[in-house]
């Protein structure tokens, strides 16, 4: 046992450390998807593109200011706002027009995915572009070093999650969102402005993905194809956690983040992804409500 620890301890430690960072970021992205599903009852396939746009806007901010810290702060404010704006626009001119019909929404957001990706390619170009981290330091553990900025990312994601939680329980918007999630018709009769709530939730979901994009871009650069992977991972998280459940989303992000870390380190990364997707399919089939959520109609 002790020899196993000696041999694999550092591996396990790294898997947990890396898995935790992944989990925080994933929770932030997946929470956006989950809120949109919970309140609006739709699946947004373009969610990953909102993440990508956050990263891309972050690069523009960095390029504009030519200073890592100011660029980062600018992006932190601007990218979620801009992406939120795009989300509101999409809600108003696409989703509302198709009455949030679940399957039509999927087709429409697939279209949106292609449009956003192609426009980014035209404007931003095909290359992966790096953004300097606002704060950079390296932490040396006895066995290996680790990026200090990654820990900052985890911390800031945690703040983001906390922010959403406060928003949900303390604000009027949160109250309206919960009311709409419980029962749309009743919410309407009680005077909840559901149209505005829908737009706000879609913007919030997109904004959270964009925020994650801004945080992550100094770790991994921005490119126009980076949205698909987080989309699939968010799906996995949201489903295992239970569609629409905030608590479930966060718990599932940790399960997936850490188990992916461990399987990848000790076994094969492709195998880890295969098992994760298969696992999700099985969860949906055998326990459709996920860990905490309600059953999906």
């Amino acid at each position: 046992m002790s020899s196993w620890i000696n041999e694999n301890g550092p591996l396990l430690f790294l898997a947990l450390l890396d898995g935790t960072v992944t989990a925080f970021v994933l929770a932030l992205i997946a929470l956006g998807l989950s809120l949109v599903f919970g309140v609006m009852r739709i699946v947004n396939i373009a969610h990953g593109e909102f993440f990508m746009l956050g990263a891309v806007f972050s690069w523009f901010a960095f390029d504009l200011t030519d200073d890592p810290l100011w660029g980062f702060l600018l992006a932190l404010v601007l990218a979620p706002a801009l992406v939120g704006g795009i989300a509101v626009f999409s809600d108003r001119f696409i989703l509302r027009k198709i009455k949030y019909h679940p399957e039509s929404t999927i087709v429409a957001t697939i279209g949106l995915l292609y449009v956003i990706q192609s426009l980014t390619l035209i404007v931003f170009g095909p290359e992966a572009r790096a953004v300097e981290a606002p704060l950079y330091f390296r932490i040396q553990f006895p066995w290996f070093g680790y990026s200090g900025y990654k820990l900052i990312v985890a911390g800031m994601s945690a703040l983001g999650l906390l922010g959403v939680w406060l928003l949900m329980i303390r604000s009027k918007l949160g109250l309206y969102m919960r009311a709409t999630q419980q029962d749309l018709e009743i919410a309407k009769t009680y005077g909840v402005p559901t149209k505005k709530i829908y737009a706000a939730v879609f913007a919030l979901g997109g904004g959270l993905a964009a925020l994650a994009g801004v945080l992550v871009v100094p770790i991994r650069q921005a490119d126009h194809l980076m949205g698909l992977e987080p989309l699939l991972l968010s799906f996995i998280v949201v489903i295992i956690g239970g569609l629409g459940s905030i608590r479930g989303t966060i718990v599932a992000a940790f399960i997936i983040g850490i188990s992916d870390g461990i399987i990848s380190v000790f076994y094969e990364p492709t195998l880890a992804k295969m098992l994760a997707t298969l696992f999700v399919a099985m969860v949906l089939v055998l326990k459709p409500s996920g860990l905490y959520g309600e059953e999906v109609a």
Binding site: Y114, T270, T277, L278, V280, A281, M282, L284
Partner: protein, 320 residues
């Protein structure tokens, strides 16, 4: 009334197929080849439509079936030295099993869950092709050109990739799919599938075990997609993961919706139009995906019934 509709629609489809048959003598080389490809892809879309258009189940993982048929046929030829017909049958049998297993699980869910389950199974299948790359040749895929035998008609040899062989085999496949779809849609079973699409719980309360009929539709749709994939491998001699990617699951949705979900012939029009649209656009701008995306959005907002769906509503009420 029904009989008249059946005769009308068979005549209509027969006319289009006859037109396609004649076109091969007229079309210039490039379009001759494009139409062959469109017919194989349209067969895939017809199979897809069987599930989406007639049973009301939207799958985001159909590339799994197409690729399963394609890889079974291709690997069968490569490793087992199967004949072309053998490979086709092997592809069909393999997808039959895959879609049956898949259906048994996935059909326990419905609506958005079903969609995500199909997406996840599709993704798992794609990843497993990559994972077993020693056997499947991974992302690069492989060419069958050297491993396929030749077709003999009246003692004359032809390659399967011969343009005329390709065209006519694609035409046969399409004809078979259209005919089978039409006959099923005019049978009592077709009526049940449409009822499931319209109102699943009501259908159950008419005494039908909805699960079995959905399973039937899924297995038929999956197997036909697989046969289309196997045919694609034979006629176009390349097998690769691009046919298992999520984009290849999205394509038949686009083709079906554009042509008209729930119309037998619609997917053919949808496939043809999209194929040429992409082809023309990619000659003009470098960004054909932008157009695909825009078409998807505009169509779902303004034109949700698609071409044949709209025609049926306005004029061709008999259209299946």
């Amino acid at each position: 009334m029904r009989k008249k509709s059946l005769i009308y629609s068979l005549l209509f489809q027969g006319g289009i197929l006859l037109l396609l048959f004649i076109l091969q003598f007229i079309l210039p080389t490039y379009h001759h080849s494009s139409v062959s490809k469109i017919m194989v892809l349209a067969s895939y879309a017809v199979a897809y439509n069987f599930l989406l258009g007639y049973t009301g189940l939207m799958s985001l993982g159909h590339a799994m079936f197409f690729a399963a048929g394609m890889y079974a046929a291709g690997l069968g030829i490569y490793y087992l030295e199967l004949s072309a017909l053998g490979a086709l049958l092997f592809g069909a049998a393999f997808t039959l099993v895959i879609s049956l297993l898949f259906g048994l699980f996935a059909l326990r869910t419905s609506g958005v869950s079903f969609l995500i389950v199909t997406l996840m199974f599709g993704q798992t299948f794609y990843l497993s092709i990559l994972y077993f790359n020693e056997f499947t040749f991974g992302q690069d895929g492989f060419s069958l050109a050297k491993h396929l035998g030749k077709l003999v008609i009246f003692n004359k040899e032809y390659l399967y990739s011969n343009p005329d062989v390709r065209y006519n085999f694609a035409l046969i496949l399409l004809t078979a799919y259209l005919l089978i779809s039409t006959l099923i849609m005019f049978s009592p079973v077709g009526r049940i599938l449409i009822a499931i699409r319209e109102n699943e719980s009501r259908t159950q309360l008419l005494g039908y075990n909805v699960y079995y009929y959905k399973l039937f539709a899924l297995v038929l749709s999956g197997t036909f997609s697989g046969i289309a994939g196997a045919m694609h491998a034979l006629l176009f001699t390349y097998v690769g993961t691009t046919f298992a990617e999520i984009h290849h699951s999205i394509s038949p949705i686009l083709w079906t919706l554009l042509g008209g979900a729930g119309t037998v012939i619609g997917p053919l029009f949808g496939t043809g139009i999209m194929y040429y649209l992409v082809d023309i656009i990619s000659g003009i701008t470098s960004n054909y995906q932008l157009v695909v995306g825009a078409v998807l959005i505009l169509m779902i907002i303004w034109f949700p019934m698609g071409i044949m769906g709209t025609l049926r509503q306005k004029w061709m009420k008999w259209l299946p």
